[in-house]
């Protein structure tokens, strides 16, 4: 089994509505590191992340995972990937537990009650398992969404503004979680307007510039 992974962009470009958002983005991320995609509002961070996940088509340039273009190995790549976007992907009229169980099932795993409870406790949501997501606060929803990270076996985390709506404790928690993931040879790509330190690991910065 392969142990070390790498993600790299080569001459990546994006055009939205006839406007060049960015072009010729080159960058390589090795296992154990994280990439902070930064830039002003509307510069194209979310667009970049969606291309990385294969949700948006790549118009120019290439994205490689372990040296191969992601399009040619989409199943493989999806298995290594966990994406969290602006949206929480939680069903409002289902309970927290049900949502987590479904998340596990999608990844092909049997939902594990004990594990789930542990994760909820870790995210400060102890005893909320039976509560409907609709009744959670904004930050609590974000926490549930983030707990997906713990339950997933993915190597590469792609997080779009993960700190949004989180209080200080929550941000610290998440940073520790990412640091932990990196120390195990994982990788993370994230956007945020807040500069949050991830353990001792320096961020690899990718500053997008308005063209």
């Amino acid at each position: 089994m392969k142990t070390s992974h790498s993600l790299s962009f080569s001459k990546l470009g994006c055009i939205k509505g006839g406007r060049q958002l960015f072009k010729n983005v080159d960058c390589t991320l090795e296992a154990g590191n994280w990439l902070h995609v930064a830039g002003a509002n509307g510069v194209g961070k979310t667009s970049l992340l969606r291309m990385v996940c294969g949700l948006a088509p790549i118009e120019s340039g290439h994205i490689f995972w372990n040296g191969l273009p992601i399009q040619t190995q989409s199943e493989n790549f999806r298995h290594d990937l966990c994406y969290l976007g602006h949206l929480n992907a939680l069903q409002e009229s289902m309970t927290v537990d049900e949502n987590l169980a479904f998340t596990s099932a999608l990844g092909g795993m049997t939902p594990d009650r004990l594990k789930t409870q542990e994760v909820l406790t870790q995210f400060g949501l102890r005893g909320r398992g039976k509560q409907l997501v609709r009744h959670l606060s904004q930050g609590q929803k974000r926490r549930v969404a983030l707990s997906r990270l713990v339950l997933s076996p993915a190597k590469l985390w792609v997080l779009d503004e993960p700190y949004v709506a989180m209080d200080e404790a929550g941000i610290g928690l998440l940073a520790n979680l990412i640091a932990d993931h990196l120390s195990k040879g994982g990788m993370a790509v994230l956007t945020s307007h807040q500069r949050v330190a991830i353990g001792q690991i320096p961020a690899q910065m990718l500053e997008l510039q308005a063209q």
Partner: protein, 231 residues
């Protein structure tokens, strides 16, 4: 953990999606009841619109009941993917290791269980109101049982195509109603043919063929449409 899911695991995911959809549907108790009641209400509109003449009603019955069932099943199509789209779950499904077509198939089946199956069991009650006899009622049920899964499957294509579009509900109807026509013709036709003393084997086997065809093709088309909607 292996890179590619085992067939058993696939079956498991399929079941999980089915269970989730059905439990979501059952959550709002209305969910299962409303297509049903809609079926009843809409079928009852006709006697009101057309007048109480029983011979006329009897002649109309198979057609009207089938059209009503079709509309009832169609109305609930729109939310097949809508909430998952709005809250980002659909992205996660598209990114999951399970083939999207399979997830889609599960969702279409759940739609059949929640919206189609109840209609099958309600149809005889309405048929009685129109004066159909027992034999005709049986055939009506049989034709609905063969036809409504096809409706859910074809409908899923439309639901996927109109995702995130303003006025999706009406657009969806517009896109798929023409595609529903063969099902309607054979379904209502079977009941009428039997009433006219003709054999209905042809009708039913054609409906079965339609079902098999759509069982195979529509998940693929739907999955492709979903990926486009997510772009």
């Amino acid at each position: 953990m292996s890179t590619s899911l085992k067939p058993m695991a696939l079956g498991y995911v399929l079941l999980a999606v089915l269970r989730r959809e059905v439990s979501l549907g059952m959550r709002q108790k209305g969910e299962v009841l409303t297509p049903l009641v809609f079926f009843v209400v809409i079928a009852s509109l006709f006697p009101l619109g057309v007048g109480p003449e029983s011979a006329l009603l009897l002649r109309m019955a198979p057609g009207v009941l089938w059209v009503s069932a079709l509309l009832a099943a169609m109305l609930s199509l729109q939310r097949m993917f809508a909430t998952d789209y709005a809250d980002g779950s659909l992205e996660q499904m598209a990114l999951s290791t399970t083939p999207l077509a399979l997830l889609v198939l599960a969702k279409a089946l759940a739609h059949f269980v929640l919206a189609g199956l109840p209609l099958v069991f309600m149809a005889p009650v309405l048929g009685l109101q129109f004066g159909l006899d027992t034999r005709a009622l049986g055939i009506l049920m049989l034709s609905l049982l063969l036809g409504t899964p096809t409706l859910s499957l074809i409908g899923s294509i439309g639901a996927a195509l109109t995702l995130g579009v303003r006025g999706a509900g009406v657009l969806l109807s517009l896109l798929i109603l023409p595609l529903y026509i063969p099902v309607l013709i054979f379904g209502a036709g079977a009941v009428e043919a039997d009433a006219a003393g003709l054999s209905i084997g042809g009708h039913l086997s054609l409906m079965a063929a339609l079902l098999v065809l759509s069982l195979f093709f529509s998940p693929l088309a739907t999955a492709a449409a979903l990926r486009i909607s997510l772009e």
